[in-house]
């Protein structure tokens, strides 16, 4: 208790506690009314602003439409643009691109767009005209010229538009450039395609134009064929044409076909030349020609022509020449067979008659038959002579002597000395008793009658001297062959006349008449050749033909076509005749 008292003053100090204030919190945020007012005013303002913007937008659209219409209505017309371009003037556009006013801007924009379109339209129209002209020019207007013209069109229109709108001009430039470029590319492709086709066609046509002349490249004397050969430019012509066609892009197959045709024609001409040579007198007949070609001993020009041929054609040509020889041989064999058949028939007939005479004992007929058979078939005659002796004919003939003398008579022992020997032998045999009198008389008669053999010998001599057989057998006879045949016919006629005179020496007749007639025949042929030469318009003189020949050889004259070459060959043949047997006048 005492302690409590002592503590009392201190205890009273903590008895009153400070007031505990309630949580007073003042509203420090915005005043709700004022905030609402501000929000309302702000919101209302924004709403109204949006409405006004919408209305302005509507009004803007209306202004734009109105301006666009005005711009289109008042834009420079096509005629005005043409006039301005022609006179180097500038056009002005309605509206104002720099104005704040939408209507002004729209008017300018629409008029500019329309003006650009009109410039573009006019430029395209002009370009179309140029392109159409180019297409109609049938290739005369080349792509580079069309390009220049299109560039002129482009620059003139874009340049004129640039005075109004640089941007529009640039855009028009790009648009037109692309379009013109496409047109130019299309034209260029077609032009080059046509040009290439034309150049190819020309190259092929040019190459084919010389084909008829190919035969003319093979030059030479048509008569002698001694200087047959290929003009040097034949190969160079082929190479030139092939090169030309290759450069012009002619397909390889066409070029190869042309080369084949060219070579075929050239080969044919060469074959013709060599064949004609082989048929000529210089060759000495097909067999000789075959041999010369095989051995390489034919004339140089002929060998050149022959060796210019491919191996296969060389073989074919030789085969043909050999076939000609075979044909000749075959004809000869046929002829021989006819002769043999006739001979057999004659022998059979005389043998039959002999046996008939043997049965009747007609010794005269039997001797006559033996005489005949001694000439025709000595072997048969030899077999029949013993039968004549056995048949009771007076005396006995030595069959060997009869046969020997008969053969000597039959073989044409026409020499006077030989004839004397034959007569001597007959008389000696009769004296020796190896020949009966009748047989001896018959042999003497046969000797006298052997004048026909003299005629045959003379005829054979005539054929040999005139080379009648060669001339007759030549498929393509030349002037010399003609001359040989004419000479043979003339002398043969004289020989017939002379044979009527028993004492006339027919061999002498042949020699004399050949000498006499040859000159006349040559003179006649020269006269004919001159007439022929005068009838050929382009080669009507010896000088012209000789100059032409020289020109063809040295290449100063181009080979002729097929028609002209025939005239030339006729003229050349006539000139050869004139130069050989006449006087060149």
């Amino acid at each position: 208790m005492a302690a409590r008292d002592l503590l009392k003053p201190q205890s009273s100090l903590g008895s009153v506690a400070p007031i505990s204030l309630p949580g007073v919190s003042m509203p420090t945020g915005p005043d709700p009314l004022l905030a609402a007012t501000a929000n309302m005013a702000n919101s209302l303002s924004q709403r109204i602003g949006q409405m006004s913007q919408t209305m302005f937008k509507v009004a803007g659209t209306q202004a734009e439409a109105k301006g666009a219409a005005a711009g289109v209505q008042n834009a420079p017309s096509i005629e005005e643009i043409k006039w301005a371009k022609k006179h180097g003037q500038s056009v002005t556009l309605p509206g104002d691109a720099g104005s704040i006013n939408i209507q002004e801007q729209a008017a300018y924009a629409s008029s500019l767009k329309l003006t650009e379109a009109r410039y573009g339209s006019l430029a395209r129209e002009a370009a179309l005209g140029e392109v159409t002209k180019a297409f109609m020019s049938d290739g005369e207007i080349k792509p580079d010229l069309l390009q220049k013209r299109l560039n002129d069109v482009l620059e003139s229109y874009t340049g004129s538009l640039a005075s109004v709108s640089q941007a529009g001009a640039a855009k028009l430039d790009i648009d037109l450039r692309n379009q013109f470029n496409n047109q130019l590319v299309a034209y260029s492709r077609e032009w080059h395609s046509k040009d290439t086709k034309q150049r190819r066609a020309k190259a092929v046509a040019r190459a084919h134009n010389i084909l008829p002349e190919v035969a003319g490249y093979v030059v030479g004397d048509s008569k002698t064929r001694q200087d047959v050969g290929i003009a040097e430019h034949a190969t160079s012509m082929l190479e030139r044409e092939v090169l030309n066609m290759t450069v012009e892009g002619v397909p390889t197959s066409t070029i190869e076909a042309y080369k084949t045709t060219f070579q075929k024609r050239l080969d044919n001409a060469l074959i013709t030349s060599v064949t004609q040579w082989s048929q000529g007198s210089e060759a000495g007949g097909p067999l000789e020609a075959f041999s010369k070609l095989s051995k390489g001993t034919a004339p140089e020009g002929v060998m050149d022509a022959f060796e210019s041929l491919p191996a296969s054609k060389q073989n074919t040509l030789k085969t043909d020449i050999w076939a000609a020889h075979t044909r000749e041989q075959s004809i000869e064999e046929d002829r021989q067979k006819v002769i043999d058949d006739a001979h057999d028939a004659v022998v059979e007939m005389h043998t039959t008659n002999f046996y008939s005479a043997l049965l009747t004992g007609d010794h005269g007929t039997m001797r006559t038959i033996i005489d005949t058979l001694t000439v025709v078939d000595p072997d048969t005659a030899g077999r029949l002579i013993p039968l004549l002796s056995k048949s009771g004919d007076a005396g006995t003939d030595d069959a060997g002597i009869v046969r020997d003398i008969s053969l000597r008579i039959a073989e044409g022992q026409t020499d006077p000395t030989q004839r004397t020997y034959i007569k001597y032998d007959i008389i000696s045999a009769m004296k020796d008793g190896t020949l009966t009198t009748g047989t001896g008389k018959h042999l003497m008669q046969n000797l006298s009658a052997s004048r026909s053999h003299v005629f045959k010998a003379a005829q054979a001599e005539l054929k040999s001297k005139t080379r009648y057989n060669t001339a007759m057998n030549r498929i393509n006879p030349g002037p010399e062959d003609d001359a040989a045949l004419r000479l043979y016919e003339r002398v043969m006629a004289k020989l017939h006349l002379a044979s009527a005179d028993p004492e006339a020496d027919l061999m002498v007749v042949v020699e004399t008449e050949i000498e006499n007639e040859q000159g006349r025949i040559h003179a006649a042929m020269v006269e004919e050749a001159r007439e022929t030469l005068a009838s050929i318009p382009l080669f009507n003189s010896v000088e012209i033909v000789e100059q032409t020949t020289e020109g063809l050889k040295n290449g100063t004259i181009k080979p002729f076509g097929s028609v002209k070459i025939l005239d030339y060959q006729r003229a050349l043949r006539a000139v050869k005749t004139i130069n050989k047997w006449g006087t060149a006048k």
């Binding site: 400070p18 945020g29 005013a41 303002s45 302005f56 209306q62 834009a75 002005t92 209507q103």
Partner: protein, 180 residues
């Protein structure tokens, strides 16, 4: 009707401008009101600080009271046991109790000072905010005026674009130098 659209739009623009002006004005008034409220809140803050400081003071007194109680108890126990309370262990204990009490009083006193200072500082910040709100009010008012003027300007511009103040296509296309 079509021709009136620009003018209606202009009138609405004017209304929108008025709205902007009113909004600014209301904003300004609101800010002034806010400033006053913040000032009032500052006074309350000061008062609350003082009240909190008194709480700490009371804690100091209570602490001393406890010291006295403890020392008195010790003295009483010492007296009952015939022990001199002013010497020896009793005295030491009392001294210790006293020193704890002094320390509590000091702490409570410091808390009182801090609480009072913080309240004052808070009140100062609130006063500053109020001043700022007051300064912002005229700005808000002027902003409203400017917004109104901007809206009107925009409206005038739009009006000019659509030809509300008179418009016609200024020129027709022609070719310079072309004879008429």
């Amino acid at each position: 009707m079509v021709a009136a659209v620009p003018y209606v739009a202009l009138a609405m623009t004017a209304a929108s401008a008025v709205g902007q002006y009113q909004a600014g004005k209301a904003q300004a008034a609101s800010m002034e009101g806010q400033a006053n409220a913040v000032d009032a809140q500052s006074s309350v803050t000061k008062l609350a600080g003082r009240q909190n400081a008194l709480q700490h003071k009371r804690q100091a007194v209570a602490s001393l009271d406890n010291v006295l109680r403890a020392m008195a108890s010790n003295n009483a126990r010492a007296g009952a046991g015939h022990i001199d309370a002013d010497s020896g262990s009793i005295s030491s204990i009392n001294n210790e109790i006293l020193s704890i009490g002094v320390r509590d009083v000091s702490t409570a006193s410091a808390n009182e000072t801090i609480t009072r200072g913080m309240a004052g500082y808070q009140a100062t910040l609130q006063n500053d905010q109020a001043a700022r709100l007051r300064a912002g009010a005229p700005v808000a008012r002027r902003t409203g005026v400017f917004n109104a003027m901007a809206v009107m300007g925009q409206g005038m511009m739009s009006g000019a674009q659509v030809g509300a103040f008179g418009s016609s296509t200024s020129a027709t296309g022609n070719v310079l130098g072309k004879p008429a």
